[in-house]
């Protein structure tokens, strides 16, 4: 008796889907962006908006899929999948009345691109009308909510042009006299002679002197920049005196 009843129920169960409407099943496969779909939170859900009624909502099931068991609305549908940490592609699902029964069939399913026309769509997932469609949802991106604050980095500090200028100046101030001391006297004399004659030397001295009332005070930078090759008259005697006293 029990067996008979079970059989009856089973027959009834088989009969039911043929009069029911189209079924849409959306699977979330693992991908490089989402390696483990089992980590998706329980709030993950999909909505199917028909344009003629409130959207239908389906929650994520064990096995990482959504199921819209009974799509009775006809026309173009928009399928969206929402989860906390990932962005999914939207899909267009077309549903038409079934030609041979009272139910509905899915006649088309495409990935679509927001902000473009409804007819601009991706590859068709449905080639022939079907009452049961299995779709694999595509993850577009992982949501990144946060901005990392630019922490203190000595390297970026060094890259700043102001600091670079300062370092070069420091090298000149500290390094040049040391270098001069280490040179043998002849070369030094030669070098100083050269410095005396070249207007550039004045500039170098100006940088070394740091404007503390040294001989650089007398260097005529404006004149040098103006292109005059000769130094002014006051320049020479003072240089001469300095040379003598040393």
């Amino acid at each position: 008796m029990a067996m008979f009843l079970y059989a009856l129920v089973a027959v009834a169960c088989q009969l039911v889907p043929s009069v029911l409407a189209a079924t849409l099943r959306v699977q979330i496969p693992s991908s490089s962006l989402l390696p483990n779909p089992n980590t998706l939170p329980a709030s993950t859900h999909a909505t199917l908006t028909s344009g003629y009624g409130p959207p239908i909502k389906a929650v994520l099931r064990r096995g990482n899929y959504f199921e819209f068991p009974d799509v009775t609305t006809v026309g173009s549908h928009l399928l969206d999948i929402y989860t906390r940490d990932y962005v999914f592609a939207p899909y267009r699902i077309d549903v038409s009345p079934s030609p041979d029964s009272a139910g509905t069939v899915i006649t088309g399913a495409w990935e679509i691109y927001r902000g473009t026309r409804w007819t601009d769509r991706g590859v068709a997932f449905v080639t022939a009308p079907t009452d049961k469609l299995d779709l694999s949802a595509k993850v577009l991106a992982k949501k990144d909510f946060y901005e990392q604050r630019q922490g203190f980095n000595p390297l970026t500090l060094l890259k700043s042009p102001m600091i670079l200028l300062g370092i070069v100046a420091l090298v000149f101030t500290v390094g040049m006299p040391k270098l001069m001391e280490n040179l043998d006297p002849e070369t030094r004399a030669e070098y100083e002679e050269m410095q005396k004659n070249s207007p550039m030397g004045g500039l170098t001295r100006a940088m070394q002197g740091g404007g503390t009332g040294g001989p650089a005070e007398n260097f005529d930078l404006a004149g040098f920049l103006a292109g005059s090759s000769k130094s002014s008259g006051t320049d020479k005697p003072s240089e001469g005196i300095r040379e003598r006293k040393r």
């Binding site: 008796m1 029990a2 009843l5 079970y6 129920v9 169960c13 089992n38 939170p41 329980a42 709030s43 859900h45 909505t47 908006t49 028909s50 344009g51 003629y52 009624g53 409130p54 959207p55 929650v59 994520l60 099931r61 064990r62 173009s76 549908h77 928009l78 969206d80 929402y82 906390r84 940490d85 962005v87 939207p90 267009r92 691109y113 927001r114 902000g115 473009t116 026309r117 409804w118 601009d120 949501k143 990144d144 909510f145 946060y146 901005e147 990392q148 604050r149 630019q150 203190f152 101030t173 500290v174 002197g209 740091g210 503390t212 009332g213 040294g214 001989p215 005196i241 300095r242 040393r246």
Partner: protein, 964 residues
Amino acid sequence: MRWYGVLSILASLLLPTRAIFADDAFHIDYHHALLGSPQAHATFFHKPQTSTNASLLYTISDKAVLGAVNPKDGSLLWRQPLAGRPVNNASSSFLVAGERDGQIISGYGRTVACWDALNGRLVWDYTVPEGTTIHGLQAIPVGGSNTNDLPQDILVLATPDHSNAHAILSRIAGDGSGTRWEHKDSSLSPSSSASIAASSQHVYYITKSHGLLASSKAKVVTLDGTTGHEAGQTSVAVDSDPLGDGGEYSTASCSGFPFLISADKGSKSVKFSLLTNPNPKVVGLTLDDKGEDIEDITVHHACDVTAPTHFLLHIRGKTCQWAEIYHVDVKSGGATRAYLLPATEEKSAFAATGSGSSVYFTRSTESEVILYSSESHGQLGRWQKTSFRATPGISPSHTVAEVVSKGKASFAVRLAETSQSGNWSLVRNGELLWTRPEMLAYVNIAAWAEDAGPDALAEELDLESSVNPLTGYIHRVKRHLTDLVSLPSYLQGVPETIVKSSPESDAIARRNLVGTKTVILGSRRHELIALDATNAGVFQWQTDLSSHISPGAEMKSIVVDEGRAHVYLSDGALIVINASNGKVIEHQSGHGPLSNLVRIPGGPAPAAIKVEADGTPRPAEDSAAVHPLEGNTVVTISDDGKAFGWAIGQSVEKTWVLEPRDGTKIINAVARAEHDPVASIGKVLGDRSVLYKYLSPNVALLIAESHSDLTIYLIDAVTGAVLHTSTHQAIVPGTDIPAVMSENWYAYSFTSRDPATEGIATQLVIAELYESSIPNDRGPLGSRTNFSEFSVDAGVRPHVISQAFTIPEPISSLAVSQTAQGITTRQVLATLPNSNAIVGIPREILDARRPVDRDPTASEREEGLMRYFANLELDPKHFLTHAREVVGVRKIMASPSLLESTSVIFAFGHDVFGTQIAPSLAFDVLGKGFNKGQLALTVVALFAGVLALRPLARKKTVEGRWGQ
């Protein structure tokens, strides 16, 4: 075509990012992830995994939200709104847990759903036939022998909603493969009550008709549990008042000895009949009445097939409460009283816990927790409740317990208690572990309360400026001298504050700068709650107003003025409350119902205007001393979709009526916020010319809807003149149409279906109003010094520029950020109900002047305009809620802070969320990026450099001098 999407993402990347810094997230914002008030019959501890002994706390709240909470810290592990979203006045819901199969089965509406107990995924669902509603859900006891891992089968009772439908009792396979058998009852009328009970062999279907001709007998149909065949039918005498779980006659179905229990109102005896007896006989149990009138009786029993057949009757008398424990003799079908628990004046809550072969009863009162064995009246354990707040309303209204036996005489008890104030808390051995403020899920109105306490310094400064200069000067010198007293201690504290920069001190410093903002919330449970909106949503006070609110009335509006909160009720009554501590100051009874309340400027204070049920505005009685300023306008919408304009001054006058086309109804009106400062009257373009903004305090937006079309009217509220109209076709029904208006722009959103291509998309429209289309031109108003809306040439229409964007998901509510001066750029705040998030869209992106189909010119680029793309991606970096999932937000409120850069945001509806945003970045405050140590090191390094170079420089000078 798909490149458009990429391009628009690129464009948004070029903007200065306004994302939440990773180190600010979870610090400047707070969130209460709520469920709603747990229901007594659908709350329990359950072990989700067979392998571990750790249990979780499961509940279905009365907002039909199923959730799992970690009993260790009260954090929410997962939740599922059974109705799609949290609903008020949810119909009855049921929750059963499978034994050892890791599943939780819920029943709500027409759906039985089986959830993975650990992660909240749907395992299977089953829908009962149309026209019926689930009215009972039972797990069929497997009886000790079934040790294979098959999930337990579920018994579902669906009762008819109307007379054409049948009641159906069905057994559903626990693995989701469908029904095993069905039992139809076409005789049950929708007004009758039906309930189910199950034992390991049989299923009992109990019906009782109500009404005049109702008999005092319930019909019990016994069905074979495995086949569903009828095994017998009998009538059992019952009393009028069912005492079982959820107000049903049958109870203890999960325990293996289901019985019927009922009593007459106020009666001192209870009718009991054991269902497992082939011929259930009725036993009258006489209660010990302690000389009191018995007001209420509840039954508590353990849910364990192997547990002893004991149950507890919790009896509430007028002044005290006690309990009687009964032992059931399964063979004879009788029940005998085993012992009595003493009566106490404190309110108690009882819980029964089955653990192996014993049943424990836990009694929880306001001050202590006592554990009893079901066998005898000896106390197994007694704990004083500690660390409880001494506030009224902490007495538990219902509780569930988990008892762990540690050795012979040592027990540990965990209690999950729902208090009358709406807190859900866990008490472990008398110690409060956590509290979840579930009453916040019922908040439906809110108001900002300004700083309650007057600043002492400000008062003294006021005093100094009010007296004559000499006295003021002396006062000031005195004040400075007294300030000097605290100087040494301040100086002592300075190094400490520099060295010890803990996150907490940073938070305090920030709070001092931002200022304190309190938000006062009114809930559907007739409570007022105050939260500190700038300090992590900390509770300030809670007041129960239910004694002041007549039945049927609800809170309509809260107005906070000078430290007093005025609560206007729907019946016209007014309750005045001290905004700093929640004490009721006065209560005025009603003068006729009101549907809304608006505030308009007046002297000496803003005047409250009541909008009565018929839509007529009237000054509120309590503000009789306040005179509304002349020339205020109020727009009301009638139920049949017309808009009315009213001029309110000394008198109230109807000035205009706007009647939309046939079939179209105005459903919503939006105006600029009360505080909506405008920093600049024009928009400076790239070539230094100015587009003047159309700024009128009197513009309003009317949203009208016909069955599928949406029309937006921009009106002048003084004259009722329509300034601009836009119409959108084929709106998807059942979707939200939020709108917001500020400064010289408005925005709205809708979901529509393109009639030609059937394409479905949600759009966000932004419209900006300018005085003229030509820069440096103020239109006809330019040379005028004054202007009347009623003058002949007043028909000046603004130049409206609008752009629509496709957005990836629908918006349920819109708001705009607020700052003190309006210098900071505004952010459009949108609730995304699908992503459970709140997004702040910068106005630079949502700009109506973005160049279409061409790249921006150099001057446009200087203005910050980007090329228009139809698609507007909602960048996750703009999500104010970042990784938090904020469910059921109905309203977002923004308030200026003391800092111009910062706006304080508070959102409520179901979850409560608050944060602080800086739309133009934090330009007037040092953020966490400022490094004190770095600054100090730089100064020290500079100083060291100077010291090091000094001998060098001196040597050089000396040498130079000698050289001369």
